[in-house]
Amino acid sequence: MRFMLNGAVKEVATHPAARLIDVLREECGLTGTKEGCGEGECGACTVLIDGEPVCSCIIPVAQVADAEVTTVEGLNGEHPLQKLFMDEVGAQCGICTPGMIMAALSLGPAPTLDEVRTALAGNLCRCTGYSAIYRAVMKWRGMTAGDTPGSAVVA
C-alpha cells in the first residue's frame, strides 16, 4: 500500500486494518505521534490526512491509501508554532503537544478565541488548563496579547 508521508512516497506492507498510528510509529519510525487513549478521545495521536486533523489511533491504514499524511516530523522542527509552544509554556509535559500542534494547523489565518477552542476541543491536555496553548496559537496567528484569554500579574 502506498501513501504520501510528509511529502515523500511511502510504501508499506502491513495488514490494511493495522492502525495508522502503529504504522507510523513502528513501521515508519516516526514516534512523534503519541498514543494517549487508543479510542480517539484524547487527540494525542492527531495527524493531518489531506490537511484535515484526524486521530491516527482509530484509522486503519487502508483509509490513507493514496492520501497525504503529515505528522509532526513533517514540520521539520521549523514551524513557528513549535517554538511558540515551548516559549509560551503551551507544552508542559509535552505528550499532547505534537497532536495539539497538528490540530492547530487546521486553523484559518485570523481565528477568534472561540475558533481556537473549537479547533482544539478534541485534544486533551492535563497540564496547562489550555490558556498557554491559546497564547501560543494566537501569537502564531499574529494576535496581540489583548486578544488572548486570561491575564496574569506578579505583584
Binding site: 479510542e39 507544552a91 505528550i95 476541543a121 492535563r126 496547562t128 484569554p149
Partner: protein, 701 residues
Amino acid sequence: MPAVGNSVARKDGIGKATGAAKYADDITFPGMLFGRTIRSTIPRGRIRSIRFDFDTAGFTIVDYRDVPATNAVDLMAQDQPFLVETEVRHMAEPILLLAHEDREKLNAASVEIDYDEEEPLFDPERSTQVFKSIDIVKGNVSAAIENADVIVEGTYRTGHQEHIYIEPNGVIAVPEDGGITIHGSVQCPFYVIKALRCLLGSAHPNVRVIQTETGGGFGGKEEYPSMIAGHAVMLAIKSGRPVKIIYDRVEDMVATTKRHPAIVRHRTGLTRDGRLVAMDIDVLMDGGAYVTLSPTVLSRGCIHAAGPYRCDDIRIQGRTVFTNTPPNGAFRGFGAPQTEFAVEVHMDRIAEQLGIDPVELRRINALRPGDRTATGQTLRDDCSAHMVLEEAIKRTDFSRKRKEYKGTNRTIGLALFYHGAGFTGAGERNLKSKARLELTPTGVRIATGSTEIGQGTRTMHAQIVTDALGIPYEDVEVAQPDTSKVADSGPTVASRTCMVVGKILEECAHEMKEKLGGLTPAEYYKRSGPFTVERMYEPPDWIQWDDKTYLGDAYATYGWGCDVVELELDPDTYEVRPLKVTAVQEFGRPIHPALARGQIEGGTAQGMGYALLERVVMRNGVMANSTLTNYTIPTTLDMPEMDIVMLENPYPGGPFGAKGLGELPMDGPAPAVVNALRHMGLDIREIPATPELIANCVARA
C-alpha cells in the same frame, strides 16, 4: 538580567514540540519483548486454579514463585505483593506476567483463573481495618463547643479522582552489564530503586533507573511505577531479554491509584458575631486494599482540615481504612483538596446560618502572622491569608457581583485555602535529601533525582544555580535523572522540588562559587580539572515536630490562595458553565513566572474537573467508566477564562524566597464552585457537582 524572576528560555529544548523527545513507549531495544499483566477479575477471594488456554511456547511466564527475594512493594508498609500468591484483595490485582515478542500473540493469550470468592467490603464507613489514625488536639473542644452561641454541623463527601496524565504508565527493563536498567515514566526514580532492592535482594545488586521523558504525573507516577518496574524486571530476568510494559488507557485507569475518596464531618461552635470558637472535625479516607501512601495522605488531609482559620479549640480525628478496591494513592494536593473542600463549603454554610457575608466571616477568622494553627504552629510573616482574600475580592468586584447575580442563572463564589510545602513535620529532616553540582569543561551540571514531569524542574533549578553562581544561564546544564549518576534529592512530590531541592542547589552553588575563587567554571576546569559539590538539605532549625502528639511546625511554610469562580447554571439541563476563574495565589516568589502561571492554570483546571466533571463510577470494586469517553476531564470547551494573580511574600528559607507551588492550585476550585452554587440556593455538599447531583438537589428542595 538575573535568571530568577524572569521567564527565561526553558531547558527542555524544542524536542517536546517536534516529537523528538523520547517517552518510554518511543524507545525500543534489540530483542525486546512486550509484557502483559494478568489481573484478578474478582474483588476478594482465593485463587483455586490457573489454566493457560494457549500454546505457551515462545512465552515467558512469571508468577509469584519467580520473585527473587521479597514479594512486596517496599513503600510505607510491605503489605502489597508484586504478584498475588493466593489471596486476592481487589479487582485488577496482578497475578501473572506474560511476555512475548509478538504483541498480537501476547494480547490473544487467554488465561483462565478460578477463585473461591469471598464477600468484598466496599463501604469505608463499615470498614474496621484501620491503616492509620490521627488525633490532633488543640485546647479543649468539648468545653468550647458547650460555650458556643451557635453550633453548625455538616458532612461533606468527595469521590475518587483519576490522574489522567496523557501518557499512560510504562517502563522497559533491560538486562545489561551484569545488572538491570529500568527506563521509565516515573516521578521518583529512587523509590523504584528501593522497591527493586527489596524485590530482588542480594542476587541482583546492580539495578539502575533512568527517567524517560515523562508525560505527566500529578502523583500518579509516584508509587505505582515501582510495581510496574518490578514486573518488567522479573520478566527480563526470566527471559534474559529487554521487556517493555506499557499500559493502555483502560488498564491504567482500572489498575493504578486514584485520589482517596473522603467523608469529612464538621461540628463547629461560633459566637453570634461569627468568631470560630470550636472546630470538631472527623476525617475518613478510603485507602483501598493496601497501605501504599495512605497514612501520609491522611496526615496532610488532617493537618489542613481546619482550613486557614484561627481557633483556639480544635480536635481533628482522622482514619484511613481498608476496602476491597485498588489502593488509592498520591494525587496532587495529597489529602488537602478533600479536607479543604469540606471546611470551605462548611464556612459558607456557617455564613448562611449566621446571616453573615462569607467574605466577612473569613475576614474575622483567617489566620494572621502570630496565630497558631491546629497543630500549634505559630505562623510567621509569610502568612498571607488576608492578602490573597482582599486581592481576590477587589479584583473580581466580588461583593457587587454577589448581590447583582442573586436570583439569576449566574452566580459567584469563593474559597480561601493554604497548602504546606515540603514533607510534613520531621519528614524533610528524616529524608536527608542531597543535591550535586558538577563542574564541566564549559560550566556546571545539576545532578539530582528530581524529575521534570512538565512542571519545569530543569529550567527552575538551572535558574537558581545560574544566579547563585553568577554565571550565564546557558552554562548550566541539567542531567537526566539516572540513579547511577545523580544524587538522591528525594521524591518529586509534595511541592518540594523548588523550595527544598532548589535550596540545596542554591547552597551547592554558593560553595562552588567560593571554591572557584573568582574564576569562571571553564577557567577553573582548564587550570585544575573537575570537582563536584554535594550538599544535604538542612531544614530551618526552628522546626519542632512531635509525631506522637501531632503537634508542632507541620510545614516550614505555606502557600496561600483565594479562588473566585463565576458560573452559569442551565435551568433545564442543570449543566454548569464556568465563566471565569480568578486565582490569587501567594507562594513566596515565582522563579519562572510563565512556568509558575502554568502550574496555577493547570492545577486550577484539574480542580475544576474535580468540582464538576470527574466522577469515578465504582462497580463491584472497580472503575466502571474506565475510558476517556465516559470519564471526562476538562476540554478547551469546559475551561473558562482564567485570571491569575501571583502575589509575593518571600519565605526566607526558600531559594530566592520561593515556597512550594505545585499542589496549592488544586485546593481551591472545588469549594469555590460549590459555594457559588450555594449562592443560587443549591445545598450541595459533595463533588463532582454533576447535572444529576444538582437535579437531585433541586428535587429535594
